[in-house]
Each structure stands twice: as structure tokens, then as C-alpha cells.
């Protein structure tokens, strides 16, 4: 890109969305029309207590029109907010084919999440979704998908797992390695039971320390990953979880021969507007809320090291 100092913007025609962003086909909240800051009012229809610290909220838009036309790409996020307290960004964890509700899994951590955890069924929330760039699931057709997740990281990958399971035939294989600190800290246990019944998924659960009555693996996720030693051949590896786990999981992938192009992760940054304007979630020139939060390791390696 030559350094055009004057940057004569005057003559530049108003760019439309499609001709600039390569993956422009992604549905985005308030895209170029309407007010992207205005949340859609939604009602909490169901609350599931996943673990002592994590609840899953199923919300339905009050406007049936919006609910019917709502679609999102696995891996996209949304802003769930309580009017009067604030908004925060969460991965959308419902099945992309689900038309009745949208689902967010929220770990109680700060002021907004505490307010969300105080909600009860029938309460009103504000939703601005979908946002961000999801996983390029179409490109992965015909490949094996390896999900490596820990703790609340399962929320970021849940929608993608559901999508790949619904289109199981398109993918050469699906294996899931899910780690948690203790047995009761696994989210989506009702889904895990279903996954265990299926023979076309290689599901491995692990907990950090030995615990009586636990038959599956024991050990930290990166260690178990290296024991599994999955072959990188024709495989896409996705990892999400606490930052420390992601760091070591990425090292393990490298050790196992995974190239940066076939390794993906999501970044957790402080976000406010969620639409690439307020400027705070940048890692180098990229904004995590619109250019991410999903990045391939190749993309991350190009960014300056300020994670």
C-alpha cells in the first residue's frame, strides 16, 4: 500500500459494505442501515444453571419479524445488555438452525454479568447481534475438525460444534477435547450426554485433578492433547478457554505439527461498541469486535504482540 500522504478522501465515493470486506456475506447487526447502537428488546425465555458460575440464557426477540429473520454464522458474538447496567459481549451458543431463541452462556465476573445473573425468566434485555466474523465453516468442508476447549471456552465453540454436527456428512471427522477444573464445571452436560451416544464423534473429557467416580481423562488440556497426539493431516484445530490454556494449547498444536493456517482461536478483549468504532478492542490494526473475535494463528502472528 503506497503511502498516499494526502489521502484525498474528498473524492472517494461512499464505499458500500460489500466491496471492501472480503467475507462480506456475513450477516451483521445493523449493517449499514438503522442504528447499530440500538439494542433489540428481547425477553428471557429460559435460564439454565450450567455450573455454579455459568448460566445459559435463552432469549427471544420481542419483535417476531426480527426473530424470524435472525441468522448468524457459527462463532459470531452478540452484545447482551441489561438496560441501566450495561452491555457485554458473549458468543452466541445456540444452534444456527435454531429459530425459537438465541442463547448466550454467561460467567458471573463483573458488574454487567452480575446483573445478567440476577435476571429471571420474563425479564427484558437488550440484544445487539450478530457481530464479529464467525468461523469460515464452509471452507472446512471435507476436513477433520478438532475442538480443544476449557471452562467457559466451550461457549465460544458450542455453536460451531452444533453446526458441524448438523452437517456431519460434510466433515471428514469431529473430535472434541473438553477440559474443566472439576466434573460439575462442565457446561452443556445435557448435550455432552447426547454427543457420547453418537459413534461419529471422538469425545474426550478431562478434569485437572483426580476425582473419585470419574472415568475419563485426568490432566490439563494441553497435556491430554499431546497424549491424544491427533495428526495434523487435513485437520482444522480450534481452541478456546482461559488465556493461559490457549497459550499452551497453541504451543502443543505447534509441537504436533499443526500449521498456523489450520489453527484457530478467539480473543477475549474489552469491548464496548462492538461495531469497530469506539477503538478500544484493537490488537494492532485489527479490531477484535469486527475483524475477530475469531482469528487464525497465521493472522495472529502478523499482529503485534500485545495480547
Amino acid at each position: 500500500m503506497t503511502e498516499t500522504a494526502s489521502g484525498d478522501v474528498q473524492g472517494k465515493s461512499r464505499l458500500t459494505f460489500a466491496d471492501v470486506v472480503p467475507d462480506a456475506g456475513i450477516p451483521r447487526a445493523g449493517k449499514l442501515s438503522g442504528n447499530p447502537y440500538l439494542p433489540e428488546v428481547a425477553t428471557v425465555v429460559q435460564i439454565i444453571q450450567e455450573t455454579p458460575a455459568i448460566k445459559t440464557f435463552r432469549v427471544r426477540f420481542d419483535d417476531p419479524e426480527v426473530q424470524r429473520n435472525f441468522s448468524f454464522r457459527p462463532g459470531q458474538v452478540g452484545q447482551l445488555g441489561v438496560f441501566g447496567v450495561g452491555e457485554a459481549t458473549f458468543a452466541i451458543t445456540s444452534r444456527p438452525s435454531e429459530k425459537e431463541f438465541i442463547q448466550f452462556s454467561v460467567m458471573r465476573a463483573g458488574e454487567v454479568t452480575k446483573a445478567i445473573h440476577n435476571l429471571s425468566e420474563g425479564d427484558k434485555v437488550g440484544v445487539r447481534a450478530p457481530m464479529g466474523r464467525g468461523f469460515p465453516v464452509e471452507e472446512w468442508k471435507g476436513k477433520k475438525i478438532l475442538y480443544v476447549m476449557g471452562g467457559i471456552g466451550s461457549a465460544a465453540l458450542k455453536a460451531t460444534i452444533e453446526y458441524t454436527l448438523e452437517h456431519r456428512a460434510d466433515y471428514a471427522g469431529i473430535s472434541i477435547l473438553y477440559g474443566a477444573t472439576a466434573p460439575q464445571n462442565f457446561t452443556y452436560q445435557y448435550d455432552i450426554v447426547e454427543w457420547q451416544k453418537r459413534d461419529d464423534i471422538d469425545l474426550r473429557l478431562t478434569i485437572d485433578r483426580e476425582c473419585d467416580g470419574w472415568q475419563c481423562d485426568v490432566g490439563l488440556v494441553p497435556a491430554v492433547l499431546e497424549r491424544m497426539a491427533p495428526s495434523p493431516e487435513n485437520t482444522i484445530a480450534i481452541t478456546c478457554g482461559p488465556p493461559i490454556m490457549i497459550k499452551f494449547a497453541l504451543l502443543s498444536f505447534k509441537k504436533l505439527g499443526f500449521t498456523p493456517e489450520q489453527t484457530y482461536t478467539t480473543l477475549e478483549k474489552r469491548m464496548k461498541c462492538g461495531i469497530g468504532i469506539c477503538g478500544r478492542c484493537n490488537v494492532g490494526p485489527k479490531y477484535v469486535c469486527v475483524d475477530g473475535p475469531v482469528f487464525s494463528l497465521a493472522e495472529l502472528n502478523e499482529l503485534p504482540d500485545e495480547l
Binding site: E3, Q10, R270, G279
Partner: protein
Amino acid sequence: MATKFLAQEQLPALLEALAQGARVVTPVKSDGVVQFELWSPGTEVELDVLLAKQSPKEWVFPQCETYLRFDYTMAPPAEGAEGEAALPHETVHLRTTNEAPRQVIFGLRPCDARGFVQMDQVFGGYGGFYFDPLYNARREATTLFAVTCREPRSTCFCTAVGGCPAGQEGVDALFTEIDGGFLVEVLTAKGEAALAGVATAGGAGIAAPTGVTAGAVTGGALLDATEAQVAQAAEVKMAASAKVEPPFTLEGIRDNLHDNFADSRWHDLCMRCISCGTCTYVCPNCYCFNINDALVETKGERYRTWDNCFNPQYTEETSGHNPRAHKANRFRNRFSHKFWYYPDKYDSLLCSGCGRCIMHCPTRIDIREVLRVMGTPVAATAEGKEA
């Protein structure tokens, strides 16, 4: 577009005519401090002091702006529900608020106007992302009448970033001070529309200035400019440009900032920085903001306020991790955003060279020096001069 001449004593009349259809904002000096204020007949427009303390950014992108109001109506507790359930809300009613009054900003400088052009790209969805209706409503309703700088300061470096003391980027009409008044170059349709109202309506109390020989009188304050006046204006512009010494070259600045990202001299350069945020709040280009909610019983609002990357909690995550905990990282982010991150997305620079950040920094951090040291290739830099 048209080139007119406005006599000096006709300026108040012109502003008054403009004030019929829009609010007029001009630099006003009150006890020594020059700021952009709402003009009213009788207020003296301050054009001698080159730059107001703050850029007129605030008039298009207010520092504190409520954009959403909501009212809860409480649902009666369901029968048999003991005690008050956690805030069972029956309905929440949203009202978006966005006043965008027609306004004319007179007396800003070309670097201020260029600041708006850079912000237009972010808020106008140029990068193909999102269109900000709040900012754009005001921006559409704003007409910018810039005045050419006659006495650039030593802290001005607009020519180094592609601007110039008579820059026309984002300017609807450029006024250049010449003998006896202003040469008015109308540059855009918006400028012409605003001034048309003045010329034809004759404006209350605007009389054709007596004793002005050149050019046909068009019945309003704006006369057709003569060649002599145009030539004199060109001279003024040339003289002004000559006074600005470009302190650094843009050549390869983006790649050098990329290579120098982990350089230890960022620490030396920011030793005297107190990480306050003055530089971003006086800057015509900085646009970062924060969003907050307020709630009193059942009535609440969501408002956005200016924010800046020097705020230690700007990037602090809920887990407590802060990628830019040390002020050197925040310091680096400001300059990298202006000369590397923003150009990557919008193909122009997020700096118009006004120099306010140098003038108003409590310890005079100098952006030109930072870019001289950090904008040059790693190998070729002389030993970084200690600030």
C-alpha cells in the same frame, strides 16, 4: 466554485445572516482562553490567535451524548410468588435521542476541518463496517467555513501530513484574510447553499460597502473578487506554507512503526508522559469513546462520552488482565493508531498536524520527535536523543 470578497466590517452581518437558519459557532476569547463557542450578535470573533484551545470536534461529536432513554414498567409479582422477584419487568420502552441542529462553524482552521474528514471515515462506515447515525446526522447539518492560517506556529506541521495552511479538505468555504476583508472561496455545494441565503437575501442590515471600487455589487455582502484580491490571497497562502517546516517524512513510517513495535526507546520517550489524555481531547482527529448507563429507579439512559487510550482501564478486561497496563504501551498505541493502524484501514492519516497535542501536553510530549525517532528504520536511526 464561486470566489467572492467579504469586507472586514461585513463579517458580523454575514454571521448574523447565517444565524437566521442555523446556529453559528466561532472561536471566542474569554479572559485569555480561546474556545469555540456559540456566537451571538455582538460577540467578537477571535481570529488573531491561531488555534483555539480545543478543536471544534465537540460540536459534531459531543463529549457526552445520551443516545438512548428507557423506562421500565414493573410487572405485578405473579400470584403466589413470595417476596419481590428480581426486577420482573413487564415492558421497557426505548427512545433514541439525537439532536442535530443546523450549524455553521466559522473560523476553524484547515487542520480542524481535516480532522472531521478523518472522523467521517470511521463514523461514516467507509472501512465497510458500520454507519454511525448519531455523528452523521450532525455532520450533515454542519457547514465548515475555514479561515486560512496566516501565522502558523512552530508546533504546526500540517504540510508534513499532507495538509497545508490553506487546505481545502472538508472545507465548505475557505476565507483568506487580505487587505480590507476576506477572499471567500466557496468549495462545496453545502457552502454555496449556506452562503446563497446570505447573498440573495441581502441579510438584515447588510449594505453594500461604500467606497469599494472593484467588482460589480451583487446587492449583498459578498462581492465578486477581483484578480488583485485573488492574487493577494494566493500570496498569503504561499507565505503561510513557507512558515511550516515539515519535521519528519512519512516515507515508510508505517513499516518502521511496525518494526519498532518492541523497541525499548518507547520507554525513554514516554518517561515524562503522565498518561492523562489531554492530547486526545484537544486533538481534532481522536474519536475513541466509552458507553455508560445510568438508572434512577425505573428511568434510565445510555450515553457515550469521549475516552482515550491513556485511560488505564481502557483495555482492562474483566479478568483483570490489561494488555496495555504500562503507560509505555498506551503511549505507543496512540502514535501507532495515528500513523499505522488507521492508515491500514482507511488509507489516510489520523493526524492533521495542528500541534495542539504539543502545545497542551502538561510536559510537552512532542509528536514530531516521537515520529522522528520511532518512524525511521530500526538500523538507520542515530542514537535516540534523550527527551
